[in-house]
Amino acid sequence: MEQIFFYIFAIATVASAIAVISLRNPVHSAISLMVCFLQVAALFILLRSPFLAAVQVFIYVGAVVVLFLFAVMVLDLGKERFGEYLHHQRPIALVVVIGFVFVMGFTILHGSLDAQLGNYTEKALVKNTEIMGKLLFTKYVFPFEVVSLLLLIALIGAIVLAMKEKR
């Protein structure tokens, strides 16, 4: 049963991801991106991470793509076309993609991509929000703070850019 759902969501993820890069209209691309994020959230639920799924929908679907759409609509990119802006990037991109697929396929087929459950049983992980919060503020507090600092810097940078335009 779960396998069937996994395949439905996985196929939808890949299909919408392809739609993001192949559709000509930026608004259509943004919608495909949103669909893609929703499918990834569904995959998180299948992986017993309801918290991550909710946060994924919250931040990526509810905020990031809305901002994309906002920018696209304000700048009226609807008439722009992407195709002409690729300057000889195709061969390089192709090599990188083939390499990536090869490496990922190799590791998956050899079973070396194997996540450890750690100290927790699968049952305890269903209510994993508390576990995650505690770990974030104890064991992983340093990376957590670094990330928040980075976000703060980005925020200030955005404000500075917006201020300059005003003058």
Binding site: I31, P50, A54, V57, F58, V66, L69, F70
Partner: protein
């Protein structure tokens, strides 16, 4: 699969159908009530001609909406124009998968215990806020796909407004989550049972008065009600994002708006007013208190709509970012200090 699992699955499907049917029919009485409230607040009668006290007016409206010609602008993005109302409607309904209406009741004859919620998610409140937020796509895409200046402006306003107020809304809920120590709505309601000093109900509104004010204002903005209904500002945008819509597509947008209003009332009751907990020694009746409290909030939303004028867009933004957001952060800080 054994027989018990099958019964459980069947039960969930029955509940889903039941809840969706209620949500589909709820706007019919609500439009009548809203117009009556509007009429009496403005010292006039409201709808009066179709049926006694105009009670059949919504039915007449529904027939009109069903048989009206369905027009799409020639230069519209046909697919998105068609799907935008669904983008708005589906999340508004999906939210109810996580909303509890009561604890458990036993059905008398077959003697089976039935829970009065579709599912008790352990991230319930996050799920509701996240999925509820998706509804904005209907408005944005409806506005963009219409290929009309007024509609586009409505859509753009809506996207900025939603993002601004979603932050304050979420932060006001964090206070409740901190006091009840759970993200599950069922646990949040259970935490609020009992009394303080023997007679004051132990509801979160006592612990989170600032949180409730922020929640209420932000919810008004999230569901596009006056004084924050800038996306469909009749005065300056004709009808905003749905100006090009007619017939059933238009009614889907209306339906979404009413369901969102009910959702906001339900959330206010669950988070701050004890859910189905009976006030002041009243007898505990399943669902009754819940519906009564939700009804009060729906009335409050209507009351506000016909009492307050609309804010300007810059005022809306400064209220959101300069008042509500810092206040909600302060609320979290104060709650944290109390919990220590």
């Amino acid at each position: 699969m054994d027989i018990n699992t099958l019964i459980e699955v069947a039960l969930i499907i029955v509940k889903v159908i039941f809840v969706s049917l209620i949500l589909f029919t709820l706007p019919i009485p609500l439009t009548w009530i809203e117009r009556k409230v509007a009429g009496h607040i403005q010292v006039r009668l409201g709808p009066f001609r179709v049926g006694p006290h105009g009670i059949l007016q919504p039915v007449a409206d529904m027939i009109k909406l069903m048989f009206k010609e369905d027009i799409a602008p020639e230069k519209a993005d046909k697919w998105l124009f068609r799907f935008a109302p669904l983008f708005a409607m589906i999340p508004a309904f999906a939210v109810y998968a996580a909303i509890p209406f009561g604890d458990k009741i036993t059905i008398p004859i077959i003697n089976k215990e039935v829970t009065l919620y579709i599912s008790d998610m352990n991230v319930g409140i996050l799920y509701i806020l996240a999925v509820g937020g998706i509804s904005v796509y209907g408005i944005i895409l409806g506005g963009w796909a219409s290929n009309s200046k007024y509609a586009l402006l409505g859509g753009i306003r809506s996207s900025a407004q939603m993002i601004s107020y979603e932050i304050a809304l979420t932060f006001s809920c964090i206070g409740v989550v901190m006091t009840s120590n759970s993200l599950s709505l069922l646990d949040i309601v259970k935490f609020q049972s009992g009394t303080i000093l023997g007679f004051i109900p132990n509801w979160n509104i006592i612990y989170q008065p600032i949180g409730f004010v922020i929640f209420f204002i932000a919810a008004l903005a999230e569901i596009n009600r006056i004084p924050f209904d800038l996306p469909e500002d009749e005065g300056s945008l004709a009808a905003g994002y749905h100006v090009e819509y007619s017939a059933m597509k238009f009614s889907f947008f209306m339906l979404t708006e009413y369901v969102a209003m009910v959702t906001a009332s339900v959330l206010a009751v669950i988070l701050f007013f004890g859910g189905w907990d009976a006030p002041l020694f009243m007898p505990e009746i399943p669902i009754f208190w819940f519906v009564a409290k939700v009804g009060f909030f729906i009335y409050l939303f209507m009351w506000i709509r016909f009492t307050l004028p609309r804010y300007r867009y810059d005022q809306l933004m400064s209220i959101g970012w300069k008042i509500l957001l810092p206040l909600s952060l302060l609320n979290i800080l104060i709650t944290g200090l109390f919990l220590l």
